[in-house]
C-alpha cells in the first residue's frame, strides 16, 4: 500500500502562488478559504537577512492531531495515508480545526458559502457551477485531501500519481518551477523518497510530533 506524501523544494519556489490559486479552482473554494497557502517571512538581520518562503498545505500527518480530536470518526487516515473528512459523519464541532497545529482546516458554514468573489454583485457562473461540481456540505469542516479524487480516479485508470498529471494533485501540476513532488513515501525508489534522502528533507515544525507527510528541501 502506498503512503502518499509531498516534497516541496523551497529553493525552487518563487512564491508565485500558483499552487494556492490552482487549488482554489480545482476545488471551487469560496473567497477566504485556502487548502494551500504560501507563508512569506524573513530571518536574520540586514544586510545578511534572508527571505523565507514556505508553501503550506495539510501535512497528512501520521499522528494527526485532528484525527485524535475528532469525536465522530469523520476525520480519518485512509490506508494510503491521506487524511480526509467524511462530510456525512462530521458534526461541525471543530475540535479538529482547533487541534491542528498547522491550522490547515476550515469550517464551512453558510456565511462562508454565501461569500462572493465580487462582493455584492452576485455569484459568477463559475461559483454557481462549482457548487454543483464540487459540493461542499454546510456545517462541516473542509481541508486539503491531496486531491484524493484525482489520485483515486488516476489509479483506477492505471496512472501513476506524481507522474501522470491526471492522477496528481492540482498544486503539483500547477507549480511552474517544479518545486512540488508527489509520490509514495513507502517506495524507497520513488523520486520523493530519493529527494528526502538526498536533500535531507525536513518536516515543518517536526517538534509538534505529528509526523507530517509533507517534506521540505532547500
Amino acid at each position: 500500500m502506498p503512503r502518499w506524501g509531498m516534497v516541496i523544494d523551497v529553493k525552487r519556489c518563487i512564491a508565485c502562488w500558483g499552487c494556492t490559486i490552482a487549488c482554489k479552482e480545482e476545488h471551487f473554494l469560496p473567497p477566504g478559504v485556502f487548502f494551500n497557502r504560501v507563508l512569506i517571512g524573513e530571518t536574520g538581520k540586514f544586510p545578511t537577512s534572508s527571505k523565507l518562503i514556505y508553501p503550506v498545505l495539510c501535512n497528512h500527518c501520521t499522528d494527526a492531531a485532528c484525527v485524535e480530536a475528532c469525536p465522530t470518526g469523520a476525520t480519518y487516515i485512509r490506508e494510503d495515508g491521506i487524511v480526509v473528512v467524511d462530510d456525512d459523519k462530521c458534526v461541525g464541532c471543530r475540535a479538529c480545526l482547533v487541534s491542528c497545529p498547522y491550522q490547515q482546516r476550515t469550517y464551512y458554514d453558510q456565511k462562508v458559502k454565501d461569500r462572493e468573489y465580487f462582493p455584492g454583485q452576485g455569484k459568477t457562473e463559475m461559483e454557481l457551477l462549482g457548487e454543483k461540481l464540487y459540493p461542499l456540505k454546510v456545517g462541516t469542516v473542509i481541508k486539503c485531501n491531496f486531491c484524493s479524487e484525482r489520485v483515486d480516479e488516476g489509479l483506477r485508470k492505471g496512472l501513476t500519481p506524481g507522474q501522470d498529471e491526471e492522477a496528481t494533485p492540482a498544486c503539483v501540476n500547477a507549480c511552474p518551477v517544479g518545486a512540488r513532488v508527489f509520490g509514495d513515501l513507502n517506495d524507497p525508489d520513488s523520486e520523493i523518497s530519493r529527494l528526502i534522502m538526498e536533500k535531507k528533507g525536513k518536516q515543518l515544525r517536526k517538534e509538534f510530533g505529528t509526523e507530517p507527510a509533507v517534506y521540505y528541501i532547500d
Partner: protein, 300 residues
C-alpha cells in the same frame, strides 16, 4: 479593538483575528473557532455545564436535592443545549459518542450521558444519598467540571491551553462557583445557618481559586515563548481590560473584600448574592480571556 484606518480596512479587511492576512501563522496566530462568532456558545456551554456540575457536586455534601436538580438542569439544559447549538450539524450530535478511545470530546459526551442518567436516578430515587452513589456522582461531577478545559487541555497546538494548571484551575472554578450558588440558595431559602457554615469552605475555595489563577499565569508564562505571548495579551495586550476588570476586579478583588467582610461566618444574603454575581462574572471573564488569548506557534 484598535480603531482601524480606512486604508487598512480596504487593503486588509479585518477578520477579527487581530493579525493581517500576511501575518497568519507567521506571527503567533489566535485561536478563533472556539470563541469568536458562534464559538461564543462554546464558552457559555463549558461554563454552564461546569457550574451546574459544581453545584451538583457541592450539593452532594449537603444532601440537598434542590441543588442537585438545579445543577443537573443547568449542566444538561444550558450546557448541553448550547453546546449542541454550536455544532454545524446539531442533528448528528449523537455521532460524537463514536470515538471515546481517542477523542476527549467524545469521552466528555459519554460522561455527560452517564451523569444525565445516574443523576436523574439519584434525583428521583428516595434515599439515594448513599456513599457509593455519592462517590460515583462526585467523580462524574468532577469529570464534567473539568470536561471543557480538559478538551482544551489536550490540544497541544495551543500552549496556553495545554498548560498544566488548566485542569486544577477548571476543577476549583467549578467547585467554587457551585459552592457559591449553593450558599446563595441556602441564604435565600431561609437556611441562613447553613449558609453561614459554608463560609469557611468559601474562604478555602476562594484562596485556592486565586492561587490556581496565579499558578496558571505563572506556569503558562514560563511554559514556552508562545505561552508567554498568550499571557502577554492577557496582561498588557488586547484583553487586558477584561483581565483587569473581569478576572482581577470581579473574580478576585471584590470577592476577597466580601470574603473578608463575612470572615468567620458573618454572612448575609445580600453580600452572598453580591459575591456570587461577582464570581460568576469573574469566572466568565477568566474563561473568556483564556479561550480568546490562546495562540498557535508560527510555522516559520
Amino acid at each position: 479593538m484598535e480603531k482601524r484606518n480606512e486604508l487598512e480596512e480596504i487593503m486588509f479587511p479585518s477578520d477579527g483575528s487581530g493579525v493581517k492576512p500576511y501575518e497568519w501563522m507567521i506571527q503567533p496566530t489566535r485561536q478563533r473557532e472556539w470563541i469568536d462568532d458562534k464559538g461564543i456558545f462554546l464558552w457559555l456551554a463549558f461554563f454552564f455545564s461546569e457550574i451546574g456540575a459544581g453545584l451538583y457536586f457541592v450539593s452532594l455534601f449537603y444532601e440537598y436535592k434542590a441543588g442537585l436538580i438545579l445543577g443537573w438542569l443547568v449542566t444538561l439544559i444550558l450546557g448541553g443545549v448550547i453546546h449542541v447549538l454550536y455544532l454545524g450539524m446539531p442533528l448528528r450530535a449523537w455521532r460524537m459518542l463514536m470515538k471515546p478511545n481517542t477523542s476527549e470530546l467524545s469521552r466528555g459526551i459519554w460522561i455527560i450521558g452517564v451523569f444525565a442518567a445516574l443523576g436523574f436516578l439519584q434525583i428521583v430515587t428516595a434515599g439515594s444519598f448513599n456513599i457509593v452513589f455519592n462517590c460515583i456522582m462526585g467523580i462524574l461531577c468532577l469529570l464534567i467540571i473539568s470536561h471543557g478545559f480538559a478538551t482544551m487541555n489536550v490540544i497541544r497546538a495551543l500552549p496556553a491551553w495545554s498548560s498544566t494548571m488548566v485542569l486544577p484551575l477548571s476543577v476549583i472554578s467549578g467547585v467554587w462557583i457551585g459552592h457559591q450558588i449553593l450558599q446563595f440558595m441556602f441564604a435565600v431559602s431561609g437556611s441562613a445557618a447553613l449558609a453561614s457554615g459554608m463560609e469557611v469552605w468559601a474562604e478555602v475555595f476562594f484562596f485556592v481559586y486565586f492561587l490556581c489563577i496565579l499558578l496558571y499565569v505563572w506556569g503558562t508564562w514560563h511554559s514556552n515563548e508562545i505561552g508567554k505571548e498568550s499571557i502577554k495579551s492577557l496582561i498588557t495586550g488586547e484583553y487586558s481590560k477584561i483581565s483587569l476588570i473581569g478576572v482581577l476586579g470581579l473574580g478576585i478583588v471584590l470577592p476577597l473584600i466580601l470574603t473578608l467582610i463575612m470572615w468567620g461566618g458573618n454572612t448575609n444574603g445580600f453580600l452572598i448574592f453580591l459575591r456570587l454575581a461577582s464570581v460568576i462574572a469573574g469566572d466568565l471573564a477568566m474563561r473568556y480571556v483564556i479561550m480568546k488569548s490562546a495562540v498557535y506557534t508560527p510555522l516559520i
